[in-house]
């Protein structure tokens, strides 16, 4: 575990994406460059990068590789949020406190939009970050909870492809499920 992970100023700096590879990275073996699908390069501490099982196995397969790791399925925007999450997780690894961890996790998802959540899930899935996936899946489920179908459609970009007859039938079948939903 890198000691610098506990240094907040340093960790803030490295979340910022840079379009060029900073020259100083060569001096520090503890940082890894990760290139997103939209060609942004993130300089991430090794301890954070090792939270990504996909990246970890990349280095295990090719330990001598010092090049930038391409992440072809990962766009920059959700990736920066994923890094934010993993940095928090690392703190709890060194200092396990389930209550604080839960609190931190719920804070994390609370401020995210539905769009953020849905964009982060494939990234967490691709990078195989199990904890984050659990948190995100639960968050999406919580947001669907007790909502109308119209809400679910509009907030999660789903088209209504039922014919009006099918929809009427569904409504009749599940009349109880359409009652008492929260206001959109």
């Amino acid at each position: 575990m890198s000691s610098s992970a506990e240094n907040p100023t340093l960790t803030t700096e490295i979340t910022k994406p840079s379009t060029e590879i900073a020259t100083e990275t060569a001096q520090s073996a503890k940082k890894i460059n990760l290139k997103t699908s939209d060609d942004q390069i993130f300089e991430v501490e090794e301890s954070v990068a090792m939270e990504f099982a996909t990246v970890k196995s990349f280095f295990e397969d090719a330990p001598s590789s010092t090049d930038t790791v391409p992440l072809p399925n990962v766009p920059a925007k959700p990736f920066s949020q994923v890094i934010e999450f993993c940095k928090e997780q690392i703190k709890f690894k060194a200092n396990p406190d389930e209550t604080e961890k839960k609190k931190s996790n719920s804070e994390f998802v609370k401020e995210k939009t539905n769009e953020d959540l849905v964009e982060m899930i494939p990234v967490a899935n691709y990078l195989e970050i199990k904890d984050l996936l659990d948190v995100l899946n639960q968050a999406v489920a919580d947001r669907i909870q007790n909502r109308s179908v119209e809400y679910v459609r509009s907030f999660f970009g789903i088209d209504n492809d039922f014919t009006s007859e099918e929809e009427a039938l569904l409504r009749e079948e599940h009349a109880w499920a359409f009652e008492d939903v929260d206001e959109d």
């Binding site: 899930i121 899946n137 489920a141 669907i144 007790n146 179908v149 459609r153 999660f156 492809d161």
Partner: protein, 215 residues
């Protein structure tokens, strides 16, 4: 009496057959539409496993509600029910359900009065109460479920209104040590506690609350 219960879990193949005639969704079309729209991230674009994980966390009522969002989700929600109940529900339970449907279809609630004479003897025998409970479960006495829908089946199971046959294994700790007993029983599910109630025919009307968590 507290004891652990294991249930005889049953042939999944019936679900396959069951699904065949219930599945008429067209997932491909849905995906094409979503891809064309492009811009907005969609729940349906999520990796298969992730979407499954989200659905897993929804309550039964939520699953039924989500089935009303679009065809693709309807199919997914249905396959979830299959996942939850497919291993529990046996051929006998399905046949019993079919009986319910068949008996329910003959006299509908509306023309029941006219057919009363014709079905006189039948009606006295058959689960009249079932009709009632069916309506109660939707909290709307005026609309009844479409009885042959898989969701209606699911709802009956989830609400505990539908009793189905199963074999119940009891593991008991007696004086002689560990004992395993097996009974034929009628089960109904209690979604609040995620347990089953078992009714054993030899000890008529004796109900024992048993713990069994659906995996």
């Amino acid at each position: 009496m507290k004891s652990e219960v294991k249930m005889m879990l049953l042939r999944p193949w019936f679900w396959e057959g069951f699904q065949v005639f219930l599945f008429h969704g067209s997932i491909k079309e849905v995906q094409e539409i979503v891809e064309e729209e492009g811009e907005e991230p969609s729940l349906l674009d999520l990796p298969e496993l992730a979407l499954e994980c989200v659905l897993e966390r929804l309550s039964p009522a939520e699953l039924c509600s989500m089935a009303g969002v679009c065809n693709s989700l309807r199919d997914r929600c249905r396959s979830h029910l299959k996942h939850k109940w497919g291993r529990v529900i046996c051929e006998a339970a399905y046949k019993k359900w079919q009986c319910h449907i068949a008996s329910g279809k003959r006299p509908s609630l509306l023309d029941q009065r006219n057919q009363k004479v014709f079905f006189g003897s039948l009606i006295s025998m058959w689960p009249f109460s079932w009709y009632k409970s069916k309506c109660e479960s939707v909290n709307k006495p005026t609309t009844c479920l479409t009885v042959d829908s898989i969701m209606a089946f699911y709802l009956s199971l989830e609400s505990g209104k539908f009793w189905f046959r199963a074999q119940v294994y009891n593991r008991e700790n007696g004086d002689v040590g560990f004992m395993l007993s097996c009974y034929d029983a009628q089960l109904s599910y209690d979604s609040k506690t995620d347990t089953f109630q078992a009714r054993y025919p030899p000890y008529a009307r004796r109900s024992i609350e048993e713990k069994h968590t659906l995996g």
